[in-house]
């Protein structure tokens, strides 16, 4: 049972003038399934390569357990990295791939084969040891890559978007599989992804990154329900963002002057605002309802509707603000508007008021 914590002690990584990772400071606990979530180019892969030893931090330290990893090469660290394209060795058989870490450590041929077969049993692929890598399916290769990484029992398994090349069904299946393997072997998994679904379903904790900065580290539910920044609120899950200025605040309740009128929301994280502070109000599409005379009432123009099986999405426009309303498909045909103006509303507790900041995808 690996119990070594990974400490990122004020880690910054720069390439010339470009800052890939800016002052990352956090502790990943031993045995945890930890995800870094962020759009591409946010520095999450750089941070992962730094933990595995392919780049050194420009500033700060990386500690595994109590040991500073400075100057220790990737081949001497107790980490194993699973690459985005898996990087299985095409000229070797499956068993040779899995046994490669043992081979370079001088383990004998028979012992290697025995261990490879054990690992193949563990990933539920017995008997494929003599096949070539290209004879396996995408999901099987995925599992072989994991088995290879686990062959020498590392303390930490690092995964760099390993599911992004798989099709949707398999991706969903592998989420469960990965989580199950992690719980079975009890290792620390550090998982990199831009797919919030993967991060939220599998992780014990998630760090959301943007432009090299870690914006929030929390449990998936907290990340989704109580984002700390505008970026997290807009990146994780869908959100309607309405910009405005704080009018008054009484306790948690904040009144915001917006182009759609004066709206009430909750100050996220118990923050206190001054009158006139620029802010965003975030409302999840599923919290927006078709109703008249609500405590927060908006009138919007109907644009279009999309049907996505389990849900129905309505796209609306109020002034310059694009709004989106989602309704769970209950299976009964519902009376929905199909044009003209639509009255909308949302509860004040469901609206998060966050300081003005960068939005994802904006």
């Amino acid at each position: 049972m690996a119990t070594k914590d990974i400490v990122l002690d004020h880690v910054s990584i720069r390439f010339g003038n470009y800052t890939a990772v800016d002052n990352a400071h956090l502790v990943i606990k031993g045995g945890e399934f930890f995800s870094f979530l962020g759009p591409s180019g946010c520095g999450k892969t750089t941070l992962l390569r730094c933990i595995s030893g392919f780049n050194d931090p420009t500033e700060g330290r990386v500690l595994i357990g109590t040991q500073d990893m400075k100057g220790i090469g990737p081949n001497k660290r107790p980490t194993a990295l699973i690459f985005q394209n898996l990087a299985l060795f095409p000229l070797m058989s499956v068993a040779e791939n899995i046994a490669f870490p043992l081979e370079v450590r001088g383990v004998g041929r028979k012992d290697r084969r025995k261990r490879a077969d054990e690992l193949l049993d563990m990933i539920a692929l017995p008997g494929v040891g003599d096949k070539k890598v290209h004879e396996l399916s995408g999901g099987q290769r995925q599992r072989v890559a994991i088995a290879r990484a686990l062959a020498v029992e590392p303390d930490i398994l690092l995964l760099d978007e390993p599911l992004s090349a798989l099709d949707l069904k398999l991706r969903h299946h592998m989420r469960t599989e990965l989580r199950a393997i992690q719980q079975r072997v009890g290792l620390t998994f550090i998982y990199i992804t831009h797919d919030q679904g993967e991060a939220l379903t599998m992780s014990d904790r998630v760090a959301v990154m943007n432009k090299g900065v870690i914006e929030q580290v929390d449990h998936p539910e907290t990340i989704y329900n109580r984002p700390k920044t505008s970026f997290v609120a807009s990146f994780v899950g869908e959100s309607n963002a309405i910009s405005g200025k704080v009018a008054t605040q009484s306790g948690k309740l904040v009144e915001v002057e917006t182009p759609l009128g004066r709206l009430k929301g909750i100050a996220a994280g118990g923050r206190t605002y001054k009158t006139g502070d620029e802010c965003y109000m975030f409302i999840r599409p599923e919290q927006l309802v078709l109703a008249e005379n609500h405590e927060n009432a908006i009138t919007a123009q109907w644009i279009k509707e999309e049907f996505e099986g389990n849900a129905r999405h309505m796209f609306l426009e109020a002034g310059d603000v694009q709004l989106r309303l989602s309704k769970v498909n209950s299976g009964q045909s519902q009376e929905t508007p199909s044009g003209g103006t639509v009255p909308l509303g949302f509860a004040a507790e469901q609206a998060m008021v966050l300081p003005h900041g960068e939005l994802a995808g904006a």
Partner: protein
């Protein structure tokens, strides 16, 4: 093939012509290797012989050259392949700007004419040798060493191109993965990159070997007073050729054919294995046929056949036939000689009797063509010559232009050693005389 896609007689005829053009010279060369005629030719066919192979192997200059070529080629492979690999690896690690520059530098030797490389190699090493005070016995003035050095300069660039092409398809993440899994950089290189480059190493070695073996332009300078196979061959051709070169061609064609067939067997086997249809295929599914078409079996069979042919050839003795041919030739000569003698006797008898020479030698025709165009020259009976002239004829054309040669009874005599005139007796006063 149908008319719509350009079939028909024209296409077939063209194909025939095309293949004749391609293979005609080779086929003729192979045939001449077995003709006992001392000049490489097919007609007249004299005797089937394998002696030219013996002549070939008996040629010391060629055989020493061959040995030198092999030693140099092996040396070039041993040096140029690692250098090419190092160059390719360096190129693949560099940034785009530096990469373009280094690429140009490394590729330049290929673009420079071999003659220039050859001369500059001698000059460079000679100057270096003089500057360290080395004498002529040292390697600075050794043809083998200079050839090796000169060839490596540009052949390693060939090897580098082969490696570059292969490296472009290498995923550098594989090396990182190996490092991450605990391999040292050396292990990652040996166990991941080298096996991936395996096919390229093979083709680079083959290419550099051939490039070295067949090189002439550079080698002819750098080998100095020595000989490689190509320089020996070139000087041999310059001094006149004989069918032993055809014999060499037969050997080279044979080796090439065996190599090509074995490679094809290998390639087909690999394709069948890779496609996974090997089990179901009629050939590869059958244990006997499978063994039979295995590249090693194919090689063993072909090499065995070639060896057997060589052994048979070495046992074959064409002396009897050649002696017979020689005998026939001698007989023909003898016969011609006889006829000549007879004819001369007849002439002497004819001329001693009448002595009717209307034109004295002093009154020779002023025409620069002599009497060659005079009406009587070609007349059947114009072989009336003043006696005593014929013995002095020294013509390189023998008596071919003798008036009598064109007469119905006149066989051109091959030996007329005593004829002195360049034009035979065509200009002799007597030949103008109408009978």
């Amino acid at each position: 093939m149908n008319r719509g896609t350009g079939g028909g007689f024209i296409a077939i005829g063209f194909s025939l012509l095309f293949f004749t053009f391609l293979f005609g010279p080779l086929i003729i060369m192979v045939i001449t290797a077995f003709n006992s005629s001392s000049f490489p030719r097919i007609t007249p066919w004299e005797c089937f012989t394998t002696d030219w192979f013996g002549v070939l192997f008996g040629n010391d200059r060629l055989m020493t050259g061959l040995l030198n070529s092999l030693v140099i080629a092996i040396g070039v492979v041993a040096i140029a392949v690692p250098i090419g690999l190092a160059g390719a690896l360096a190129l693949s690690e560099l940034g785009p700007k530096l990469r373009a520059t280094l690429y140009t530098v490394l590729i330049t030797p290929i673009l420079i004419p071999g003659v220039v490389l050859g001369i500059s190699t001698i000059v460079f090493w000679g100057a270096l040798g003089r500057s360290v005070g080395a004498d002529y016995g040292t390697f600075f003035y050794n043809g083998m060493f200079l050839t090796l050095a000169g060839q490596v300069t540009f052949i390693s660039a060939y090897a580098m191109l082969v490696f570059l092409a292969r490296l472009q398809r290498f995923d550098p993440l594989l090396t990182e993965a190996a490092l991450d899994l605990g391999a040292t950089p050396g292990q990652a290189f040996r166990k991941i990159l080298l096996p991936f480059l395996g096919p390229a190493i093979g083709s680079a070695a083959f290419l550099t070997f051939l490039a070295s073996f067949e090189n002439y332009n550079t080698t002819v300078f750098t080998i100095l007073s020595g000989n490689t196979f190509t320089t020996a061959l070139a000087s041999k051709v310059r001094h006149g050729t004989d069918p032993s070169l055809s014999a060499l061609a037969v050997i080279i064609i044979g080796i090439t054919l065996i190599g090509a067939i074995v490679h094809e067997a290998y390639a087909r086997r690999q394709a069948a294995i890779r496609s996974g249809t090997a089990q179901r295929s009629r050939i590869y599914g059958n244990p006997v046929l499978k063994t039979l078409v295995h590249p090693l079996t194919v090689f063993a069979i072909l090499a065995g056949a070639a060896g057997f042919a060589a052994w048979q050839g070495s046992q074959y003795d064409s002396n009897a036939c050649e002696a017979q041919i020689l005998e026939e030739k001698r007989a023909i000569q003898q016969q011609l000689l006889e006829e000549q003698r007879k004819r001369m006797q007849e002439q002497r008898q004819q001329q001693t009797a009448p002595t009717t020479a209307p034109e004295t030698p002093g009154q020779a025709s002023p025409s620069p063509f002599g009497g060659a165009f005079k009406p009587g020259t070609l007349s059947p009976g114009s072989d009336a010559e003043p006696s005593g002239d014929a013995p002095k004829s020294n013509s390189p054309f023998g008596g071919a232009f003798k008036p009598g040669a064109l007469g119905p009874s006149g066989e051109p005599a091959q030996e007329t050693p005593k004829n002195g005139s360049g034009f035979g007796s065509a200009f002799k006063p007597g030949s103008l005389k109408p009978e």
